[in-house]
Symmetry: C2
Subunit: 220 residues, 2 copies
C-alpha cells in the first residue's frame, strides 16, 4: 500500500543498512512518528553531526578532528596528515606492538578487555573469500609505509616489534591472516595470533569439536 | 572506551528505539561512517522530512498534509480538522465498516491482503495488561464522537453498520477486545472479530494446541 513519501523515503534509506530489513525499518518509522517531532529532529541532527568524523590517518579509527584543525584556512592535506585518534595519540601506549583488526567494533571489544596497550590498525571487513579487496591492500601498503617511515615509532630500520593479527577464529579469518602475515613479515620482528581454546565460563560438554581440538592442541 | 561524541550521541539516540540495542546501534554507527557523508546526509534529511507527517484526524494513520493545507496563513485548528489519510478520503471504500487495529503496521498488513474495503481506526499499541491507557480511551471517545456526529458516515442515528476488532490472537488482545467491544456496542449494529484457526499453508502436525482448539471450535 501507498505510504506518505517521507515515510517511504525513510524506510528505503534505513533498509540499506545491514541487519535492518524493510519490516524492521517500517516498524521503526512508525515508532519515530509516535515519538514526535523533537525526537525526529534529534535523531536527524545526530546523524548529520556524524559527518564531522574522519578516519584516523594512522589506524583508520573514526575520529573527531579538534576544531582548530578543522579551520577553513588550514591546508587540507596537512590537516589530514595530522588527524590521529586518542589511541594513536596516547603517549602511554606502546607504539611498537600493532594489532591488525577487521572492524571498529572488534577494536572496541578488545579495548574493553583492558589487556592490550599497543596500537591498532583497522584493515576493514574481510570478504567471504578471505582475499582482501583492493582498498584493503592500499591500507596494508599504508601500514607498511608508516612502519618504514617510522611514523609509527618502530624498533629501528623499518621494523616494528610485534604485529598481532586479531581476526575472527574462522576459516576465512585464518586464511586472510596467513595472507597478511606473508605481506607484513618483512616489517616486523614477530607476528602473533590471538589464543584459541575454550571460552572462559564455557562448558566442555557444549563446546564444538573444533574448539575442543584447538584447546587440546594449544594446551599449556 | 571513549568514542567521539557525535558517535556516542548517535548510538544513544538510536538505542532509544525499540528492538535496537546499543550493540546493533554501534554497528550501524560505524557502518554509516563507512558509507560516507552523502549517505549520512540523506538519512538525516529523511528523518527530518518525516516531521511533515501528521496523524489522520479520523483514523490516526500517519498522513502527509497537502502543501496547500500547510500554508502558514491557514487557521491551524481548521487545517487539523481537514487532514485525512488516503484511505479515509477514498470514496470507493465503505465507511460504515470500521476495523479497529493496534498499530500502523497491522493496518498495512491487513490492507495488503486486499480483502478489506472499509475504514480503519488505530487505537495504539495495547499495554501488556490489556487495559487501555488514558490516551487510548481518548482515541476511543474520538471514534464514538465521529460516529455520533456522523463525520464517519454512519448507518443513521449515531450507529455504524459494523466494527471489526482486529487485534492479535493473544490473551491480551482478546481481553482488550472484550473491553473495547463493551464500549463501542452502543455505536454499532454489529461487532465482529477476525477469524481464528489454522494459518493457510500451515501444518496440523506442527500447530499448537490452542490453534487446533480454535480450528475445531470454529470449524465450518
Amino acid at each position: 500500500m501507498r505510504l506518505p513519501s517521507p515515510i517511504e523515503q525513510f524506510i528505503a534509506k534505513l533498509s540499506e543498512l545491514p541487519s535492518l530489513g524493510p519490516r524492521q525499518a517500517t516498524r521503526l518509522a512508525f515508532h519515530l512518528l509516535r515519538m514526535g517531532n523533537i525526537s525526529m529532529k534529534e535523531l536527524g541532527d545526530a546523524i548529520h553531526d556524524m559527518r564531522t568524523i574522519q578516519p584516523c590517518t594512522h589506524c583508520f579509527f573514526p575520529t573527531q578532528a579538534p576544531k582548530s584543525e578543522l579551520s577553513p584556512h588550514a591546508d587540507n592535506k596537512d590537516q589530514n596528515q595530522k588527524l590521529r585518534c586518542h589511541i594513536c595519540k596516547d603517549p602511554r601506549r606502546t607504539p611498537t606492538i600493532i594489532m591488525v583488526v577487521e572492524k571498529e567494533t572488534d577494536l572496541i571489544s578488545l579495548e574493553k578487555s583492558g589487556k592490550f596497550n599497543g596500537h591498532y590498525f583497522i584493515i576493514g571487513e574481510i570478504p567471504k573469500t578471505g582475499i582482501l579487496e583492493e582498498w584493503q591492500n592500499l591500507r596494508l601498503a599504508h601500514l607498511k609505509s608508516l612502519i618504514q617511515k617510522e611514523l609509527i615509532p618502530s624498533a629501528g630500520s623499518g621494523h616494528t616489534e610485534e604485529i598481532i593479527l586479531g581476526f575472527n577464529p574462522t576459516s576465512v579469518g585464518d586464511f586472510s591472516a596467513s595472507l597478511i602475515a606473508r605481506e607484513l613479515k618483512p616489517f616486523t620482528k614477530k607476528i602473533s595470533y590471538l589464543g584459541r581454546g575454550l571460552p572462559t565460563g564455557g562448558e566442555i560438554e557444549f563446546a564444538d569439536d573444533e574448539t575442543l581440538g584447538s584447546a587440546l592442541e594449544r594446551r599449556s
